[in-house]
């Protein structure tokens, strides 16, 4: 049964990137297509972080176990969208002009926060297989707590990049703070 749900969810999660491809081909990304792709992939990275973080509390509250079985897939989508997002910036926007890119990473705090978040996602993606979970056991649990820090870095990245504070980053911030507080609460129960 669960397999049958997982496959549509997998394709649904791919939809944002498929839409971007469609829009590239049919030239529908508006006057500044590169920025548009950066924004869409950045937003989906954050959304998948939220979805991933929500799985454990949902399992606890609904007492249904299946949520957890999606967690790994959503976590990998975080990495997928974060990497597409970064590659848009590195490959399409700056065309692998490493001197400008490294300059940005050290000089601009919002790029630094985003880059750090992506870097921290790498070990999580590399250790996401079932085999690694078995191999690392408790260490795996500890390692994957990094997602809390990543979620905060992601939101800080967003708050630092906007010129004036708008509603969207604040909504994300509130959701992430609630999700993190639920963790703390669950721990003490």
């Amino acid at each position: 049964m669960q397999k049958y749900i997982k496959i549509p969810i997998f394709f649904l999660s791919l939809l944002p990137i498929l839409i971007i491809f469609y829009q590239i081909i049919f030239n529908q990304l508006g006057p500044e297509p590169v920025k548009e792709i950066t924004h869409v992939t950045g937003n989906w990275t954050l959304r998948f972080i939220i979805i991933t973080l929500a799985m454990t509390p949902l399992q606890k509250f609904t007492k249904l176990n299946f949520w957890i079985s999606y967690r790994r897939m959503f976590g990998l989508f975080v990495f997928f969208y974060a990497s597409s997002h970064m590659m848009t910036y590195v490959g399409i926007d700056y065309r692998f002009d490493w001197s400008s890119i490294s300059d940005d990473i050290v000089k601009k705090k919002f790029i630094f926060a985003g880059f750090l978040a992506w870097l921290l996602l790498v070990p999580l993606a590399l250790t996401s297989s079932k085999r690694m979970i078995r191999l690392l056991r408790d260490k795996w649990k500890k390692l994957h707590k990094l997602i809390y820090i990543i979620s905060l870095l992601g939101i800080i990245h967003y708050l630092w990049l906007v010129k004036v504070v708008t509603v969207e980053p604040l909504i994300y911030l509130i959701i992430i703070v609630i999700l993190l507080m639920l963790r703390v609460k669950m721990k003490f129960n």
Binding site: L29, E32, I92, D93, R95, D97, S100, K108, V164, V165
Partner: protein, 301 residues
């Protein structure tokens, strides 16, 4: 330094539109022609002569009074009423005056001025503005010697401008120039673009355009021009003094905490065209560099 090559693929769509535009102004305004553009600097070849399409100029805007999204100004400004409209010129002047927008437009004939707009966010457009030198308007009121700066105030009307319902910036929008900057002939009072009246989302009925400064220095929908003795505090300076200086001259060597200012994306060029190098004073150094000859532009950013 990398030399950016001018994209060979002139987007056909834009080219066609431009041809159509040339034809359409040919009908109504025979005095206008693209070959008589003032200040078209030849050394400045990169893309200066490739006009941004009318569609992009009028649908991709930063105008927070109508919302913070780039598409918001177009969407939210169509009902904006610009008649009647008056502009007051006051402060350190001998003859303070209030004129209607129509009076101003008819008193000072507009000419076509193709200038590049460089946004602080790292993108640019080439816009065929219609307008005249601000100095002409200022000379009408006899500016006193005590006037060292000019402050521009945009309209405050939260009923019509929904962005003003939120304290995103300190409303009304304020900007300023030093008096010699304001008197410079390329500092323009804009009355239109592409040979048409100025669309609401671009700052109708009257806006300022300062070609060598980042876009936010060019206040839209102005209602007051005040000549003052002391340096005014602009809305952006108030919001973040560390990021937005009073001068805000386009300068590839002074980077902004958020955006690299060394390069820029050209609006409408599509996904595969590279960034181009940003030029000092947005390419208008020949005209304006002498205004700053004894200043450290890194300090006075």
């Amino acid at each position: 330094m990398k030399k950016y090559k001018q994209s060979e693929i002139t987007p056909e769509k834009i080219y066609k539109k431009r041809r159509k535009f040339i034809k359409s102004i040919g009908l109504g305004m025979s005095s206008l022609s693209l070959s008589t553009i003032p200040f078209l600097n030849k050394g400045y070849s990169q893309n200066k002569n490739e006009l941004t399409s009318y569609e992009d100029i009028t649908t991709y805007n930063n105008y927070y009074e109508f919302g913070t999204g780039k598409g918001d100004p177009f969407k939210n400004s169509q009902e904006f009423v610009t008649k009647p409209w008056s502009v007051t010129i006051e402060g350190e002047v001998d003859n303070p005056i209030t004129l209607s927008a129509e009076e101003i437009i008819s008193l000072f004939p507009s000419e076509e001025r193709v200038y590049k707009l460089r946004c602080v966010e790292g993108w640019s457009m080439v816009i065929p503005w219609m307008g005249f030198s601000l100095s002409k308007l200022l000379n009408k009121v006899s500016v006193k010697n005590s006037a060292k700066f000019v402050e521009f105030e945009s309209i405050y009307d939260p009923l019509q401008m929904k962005g003003q319902k939120y304290p995103v910036l300190n409303w009304p929008y304020r900007e300023g120039l030093r008096i010699d900057e304001a008197m410079h002939p390329i500092t323009t009072v804009v009355t239109g673009l592409y040979g048409k009246a100025l669309p609401n989302q671009n700052g109708a009925p009257l806006r300022i355009f300062v070609p060598w400064k980042y876009g936010f220095k060019s206040a839209k929908a102005i209602v007051k021009i005040k000549l003052v003795e002391n340096m005014p505090t602009s809305s952006w300076m108030r919001s973040s003094p560390r990021e937005y200086g009073f001068y805000s001259n386009v300068n590839p060597n002074v980077s902004h905490p958020r955006w690299s200012q060394a390069t820029e994306r050209v609006i409408g060029e599509g996904i595969f065209s590279p960034r181009i190098e940003t030029e000092m004073f947005n390419g208008y150094g020949d005209e304006v560099a002498n205004l700053y000859s004894d200043m450290d532009l890194k300090k006075n950013f």
